[in-house]
Amino acid sequence: MPTVSVKRELLFEALGRRYTDEEFNDLCFEFGLELDEVTSEKDIISKEKGEGKAEGASEAVLYKIDVPANRYDLLCLEGLVRGLQVFKERINLPRYEKIIPAEGEGQKLIITAETVKIRPHAVAAVLRNITFTKERYDSFIDLQEKLHQNICRRRALVAIGTHDLDTISGPFTFTAKAPSEIKFKPLNQSQEYTASQIMDLYRTDSHLRHYLHLIENKPRYPVIFDSNGVVLSMPPIINGDHSKISLKTRNVFIECTGTDMTKAKIVLDIIVAMFSEYCEKQFTVEAVEVIYPNGKTHIYPELAYRKEKVKPELINKKLGISETPSSLAKLLTRMCLSSHIPENGNNIEIEIPPTRADVIHACDIVEDAAIAYGYNNIQMVIPKTYTIANQLPLNKLTELLRLDLAAAGFTEALTFALCSTEDIADKLGMDISATNAVHIANPKTAEFQVARTTLLPGLLKTIAANRKMPLPLKLFEISDIVVKDLTKDVGARNYRHLCAIYYNKSPGFEIIHGLLDRVMQLLEVPPNEENGYTIKATEGSAFFPGRCAEIFARGQSVGKLGVLHPDVITKFELTMPCSALEINIEPFV
C-alpha cells in the first residue's frame, strides 16, 4: 500500500478546518485510508540516521497516510484534499478540460519506428501558465515518484518526464539510438556524458541504479529530442539538465513513455488532473498531438469521462441497504462519481472521471456507494445459506492421529516446509537429485532453497534447538512434504507424512517400533503379511547399517524406521543416539 506524507498544516489549510489526530484518523478510516503515523521530518531523520543528523530539520508535523493501491488520484496532497472535500460535500468535483490548440500552434511528439522493440508507447501534455510554490513543486516531484513506484511498476511500464517548455522547442521526437550516439548533460550533472557513460555513472546511485536493467542490454536506448537536437530525457533513466523545471517554470511539457499504453494514459491523466489546479485557467490542460510511425495521430491527454448506468436495486441488493435512487446518486457523487437520475429513467447515470481509472465494473460503483453510506452503518444479517459441514478426510485423519500420538507420550512439533538442499540431501547422506525435490528459483537465503521431501530434518533441528531440555525427547509431526509429480497439473504434489523421533542416551529402537505398532493398531492394520503390516530389513543412507527397516502396509511400502546414522546425528549438531519413524499416511485415509 503506498504511503503519502503530507504536512499537517498544509493539509488543514487546504481542508479549511482543523482536526485532532483522532478525528482525522476516524475520517481516514471511514474513507478507506489509514493514518499510519504522525511524525516530523526531524523524527524521521533521527530514527533513520541518528539524533545528531536531525539537527536543524523541520519539526513540522507530518501525516503519513496509507492509500489503497488502486487510488492513484489520492497519491498527493492535492488529490487527497480534493477527494476528502468532495466526500464531505464541501466542494464539487472539478471538471478537467482538454484544450486543443489551433492548427499549427500545438506541440507535437513524433514517435519513430526504432522505439517499437524497446519502449513503444508515448503520450504527452502541456500545463500552461502554472504557478509553482516550494510546496507545490515538491508535491509535483513527489507525485511522479509515487506513480513511478506504484502503477508504473518501478518505471518498467511507464516513465514520466517533466520539462520547462520555454527552454525547448517542438516538435519533439521520441526515438531509440545506440548508446554511443546519445550524448547530453543529465539532470543536476555539470558535464555531458554519452549514454554508456551515464549508465556507469548511475551504477552506484542508490536510486537510479534500480532502473538501469530496464534498457541496459538493449542495442538502442530510448531518447526524446527537441527540434534543435536538445535531449529532453533518456527514459526510463534520467531527464536532461537543460529542460529541468524550477519554481519559476510557467509552462510544463509532460511526457510519459512506456510499455503499457493503458497505464501511460492513466499516469498522464492523473498528473495533469492533479496539477492543472495551479494553472491560470484552473483544471485546463493543453493537448499534444502524438504522431505514430505509421503516420496516424492521436491527441493526448485523453481525460475521458465514461458514462455508466446502474440500477439502484443492484446497489441496494449487493449491500443490504434500501436507499432511494436519488440518495444513492448523492452517495456516489460524494465519491467523485457524479451521478444523477435522468428524467423518466430508472437507472442511476454515473460519470466516471479520468482520475478514477480504478472503476472498471459496476461492483466498483457499488463499493463506492457503500463507503459513502458508511460500512459501519450497514445492518448486519446472518446469511440463511443452509449447508451441512464436512471435513476433508485427510485432515480428519490427521487431527485424530495427532491426539493419539500425544496420548502416546510424543510432543508435537511444527517445522518449516521450506529448507536448504543440505537439510534434505547432504545431511541425510543423499544426493539432491535423488530427492525429487521442488526447487525455488529466487530464494533470499539458503533456508528457502527447496520444499522439504521429508519431515525428519525439521524434527532433528527442533531437537538441536532444545538440547538443554531433559531427556528423553520424543517428538512427532504430521504435515505435508512436496515432491515433483508430472501427472499433476502443476507438476508437483504434497504427501501427508507422519514422522516421530526418540532422542536419548540409548537409541530406543523398541520405543519407535512400539509407536509404529500403536499407530497401526489405531489404523486397524494388524501385524501380518497378508492384509496387515510388516517391517523388513533394508538399508537407508540416513540410518545405521543393520538398524533400518522398511514398513509395508497392505502390500505397499509406506515408509521406514530405524536408528539414525551417527553421521546424520553429528551433522544436525546432536550428540545422543536417536531412532526415527516416517510414514506416508495417505494410504490409510
Binding site: G32, E34, P68, N150, L157, M261, T262, K263, K318, L319, G320, H361, A362, C363, E367, A370, I371, Y375, I378, M380, V381, P383, Y386, T387, I388, A389, Q391, L392, L394, N395, R402, L405, A406, G409, F410, T411, E412, A413, L414, T415, F416, A417, L418, V438, H439, I440, A441, N442, A451, T462, A464, N466, K474, D480, K484, D489, V490, A492, R493, R496
Partner: protein
C-alpha cells in the same frame, strides 16, 4: 524389652514442668542418660518426624575441651614445672636442659615466671639454676578444672592464654532445646507413610496412624505428550467453521501455478505481488504442465479486453506468465479451484467452504513475519448475498474467537469488491487493530468460471499466527513456529479456549 532412646527421652521430658520455659537440653539429657549426643539427636529427629509429639529448637552451645597436648599437661604437668623439677640444686648446663622434652616452651615460661635463673658466665658454658624453692602448677590446675566441667570458672584471660598455647579448644555444639509438642505422649508410635495392599487386606489401616501429607508441595508431573500451541488454535478454528456448517476445502498443494494463484483471481500480470520480490517462484518444476484451456481463454479475455460488464485491465495477457509455478501466496488459490469445481457441477448449490493451511511469501523476515505462515479462509457462495451478510457472518465468526467488538474499513483487494479490512478493539493496546481481510468476489473472477450471475461469493481471511501470538502473549514468532520453538513453552501451554 528395654525402652528405646526415644522413649527414654519422652519419659524424661514428661517430668519437666509445663510452660514455655519447660524443656530439656539435648546435651544435658544425653549426659544424664549416659548416651552419646549424636544418638540422642537421632531420637529427636525420629520423634519430630511423627508430627507434633515434641518441639525441638536448634541451639548452638560453646564448650571448652582439652587438646591432645592439654591432656598430656594434665597427666604430666606443664612443661615449665617439669623443667623446674629437672634442675638439681647445683644447676644444669643450658645445653643439656634444652635437650629435655618440652624444654623450649618450659624454659621460656619458667624464665618468665622467674622460677629459674641463667648464669651465662658459668664455667663450662651457660648454666640454669632454680630461683625459687617450690612452684605451683597453675596451668595443670586450670586444665583440671576444665576437664571437670568447670571451664566457665576460669577467667577470660586464663582461657585465652591456654587457647594460645593450644592446650584448650573451643568447640561449638549443635544441640536441641526440646519441649513437649501439642500431641505429646510418652508412647512412641510409628506413623505409616502410605496405605499398602496388606493394610487393606488385613484391615490394619483402621488402627494405624498415617503420616500427614505436605499439601503445599507440587505433585509429580505426568509423563505425557503435548500438542503444539499453534495447531491447537488450528483445531479450534476448524471446530468453529464446522459448528457454522462450513465444509473443508482441499489445500494439499503448496505448489501452485500463477494462473490459479493470480490470473484466476483477476490479479493482473503486472501486479506487484507477482514480483520476484514478494513471491517464491519455482526453478523446478518451473511451469505448470496443464492449465484448463477453455476457462483460461475466458480469464485471458476478461484481463485483456474485459467482458461480463467489466472494462478489463487492457493489457497483453501472456500464457507464459500464467504457467509460472510458485509456492502459493494465499489459500485463495484453493478457494478459486473449489469455486471453479462448484461451477462445473452444473446446477448451482449454495456452499460454505473453509480452509486453514500454509502459504508462502518471499518477504523480509522479522519478529512477526516468517516466509511461511498459515492462512485461515472462509467462503460463502449463495444467491443474493450482501455486504451486510458478510458483516453478519464475520460478527458470528469472530465472536466465537473471543473477539466481539468489530468495525470495518474500506480497503483494496484485486479480487474483491467491495473489500473490507476487519478491525477489532484491543483492550490491552487500547486501540483498533486489524484482525482480517474480507470482501465480495469480483464478477470478473466468478463469471469466467461459469457461476450464475445471481450468485454472490463473500469471503474472508486471516492469519493463524497473529491471533495465536496475541492470545499467548508471544512476541517473537520464531518461539512459536519452526524448529527454534521453545519446547518448555509447548509443554506448559494451556488448553486453547478462544472464547474465554
Amino acid at each position: 524389652m528395654s525402652p528405646s532412646v526415644a522413649e527414654q527421652l519422652l519419659q524424661r521430658l514428661e517430668r519437666t514442668p509445663p510452660g514455655p520455659e519447660g524443656g530439656l537440653c539435648s546435651l544435658e539429657a544425653a549426659a544424664a542418660l549416659g548416651l552419646d549426643h549424636q544418638t540422642l539427636v537421632g531420637a529427636v529427629k525420629s520423634l519430630q518426624a511423627l508430627g507434633e509429639v515434641i518441639e525441638a529448637e536448634t541451639r548452638a552451645t560453646t564448650r571448652w575441651e582439652l587438646s591432645a597436648e592439654g591432656e598430656e599437661v594434665l597427666r604430666d604437668g606443664s612443661p615449665e614445672v617439669r623443667l623446674f623439677h629437672s634442675v638439681p640444686s647445683e644447676g644444669l648446663p643450658q645445653s643439656d636442659a634444652m635437650k629435655l622434652p618440652g624444654a623450649q616452651v618450659g624454659f621460656s615460661k619458667a624464665m618468665a615466671n622467674k622460677w629459674l635463673r641463667l648464669d651465662k658466665g658459668a664455667p663450662g658454658g651457660p648454666r640454669i639454676f632454680r630461683a625459687v624453692s617450690t612452684v605451683q602448677d597453675v596451668v595443670q590446675n586450670s586444665l583440671r578444672q576444665v576437664q571437670e566441667g568447670n571451664g566457665d570458672s576460669l577467667s577470660e584471660r586464663e582461657r585465652t592464654d591456654l587457647k594460645r598455647r593450644k592446650l584448650l579448644l573451643e568447640v561449638t555444639l549443635k544441640s536441641y532445646w526440646i519441649r513437649k509438642g501439642s500431641a505429646f505422649s510418652t508412647a512412641v508410635v510409628r506413623q505409616e507413610t502410605d496405605l499398602t495392599p496388606e493394610m487393606i487386606a488385613t484391615g490394619s489401616w483402621r488402627k494405624l496412624p498415617f503420616k500427614a501429607y505436605n499439601f503445599s508441595a507440587l505433585g509429580l508431573p505426568p509423563t505425557c505428550g503435548h500438542l503444539h500451541p499453534l495447531l491447537k488454535v488450528r483445531s479450534q478454528l476448524r471446530q468453529i467453521f464446522l459448528e457454522m456448517g462450513f465444509t473443508e476445502m482441499p489445500t494439499d498443494n503448496f505448489v501452485e501455478s500463477s494462473f490459479w494463484n493470480f490470473d484466476a483471481l483477476f490479479q493482473p500480470q503486472q501486479h506487484p505481488a507477482r514480483d520476484q520480490h514478494d513471491t517464491f517462484f519455482l526453478q523446478d518444476p518451473a511451469e505448470a504442465p496443464e492449465l484448463p484451456a477453455g476457462y483460461m481463454a475466458r480469464v485471458k479475455k476478461v484481463h485483456s479486453q474485459g467482458g461480463y460488464g467489466s472494462q478489463g485491465y487492457k493489457y497483453e495477457w501472456k500464457v507464459e506468465e500464467a504457467r509460472k509455478n510458485l509456492l502459493r501466496t494465499h489459500t485463495t488459490s484453493a478457494s478459486a479451484r473449489a469455486l471453479y469445481h462448484l461451477a462445473r457441477q452444473g446446477k448451482f448449490t449454495p456452499v460454505k467452504y473453509f480452509s486453514i493451511d500454509r502459504v508462502f511469501r518471499n518477504e523480509s523476515l522479522d519478529a512477526t513475519h516468517l516466509a511461511e505462515f498459515h492462512q485461515v479462509e472462509g467462503v460463502v457462495a449463495d444467491r443474493g448475498l450482501t455486504l451486510g451478510h458478510l458483516m453478519g457472518i464475520l460478527q458470528q465468526f469472530f465472536t466465537k474467537l473471543g473477539i466481539s467488538k468489530l468495525r470495518f474499513k474500506p480497503a483494496y483487494n484485486p479480487y474483491t469488491e467491495p473489500s473490507m479490512e476487519i478491525f477489532s478493539y484491543h483492550e490491552g493496546l487500547k486501540k483498533w487493530v486489524e484482525v482480517g481481510n474480507s470482501g465480495v468476489f469480483r464478477p470478473e473472477l466468478l463469471l469466467p468460471m461459469g457461476l450464475p450471475e445471481s450468485v454472490s461469493v463473500i469471503a474472508w481471511g486471516l492469519s493463524l499466527e497473529r491471533p495465536t501470538m496475541i492470545k499467548y502473549g508471544i512476541n517473537n514468532i520464531r518461539e512459536l513456529v519452526g524448529h527454534r520453538v521453545n519446547l518448555q513453552m509447548v509443554y506448559d501451554n494451556p488448553l486453547c479456549r478462544l472464547d474465554s
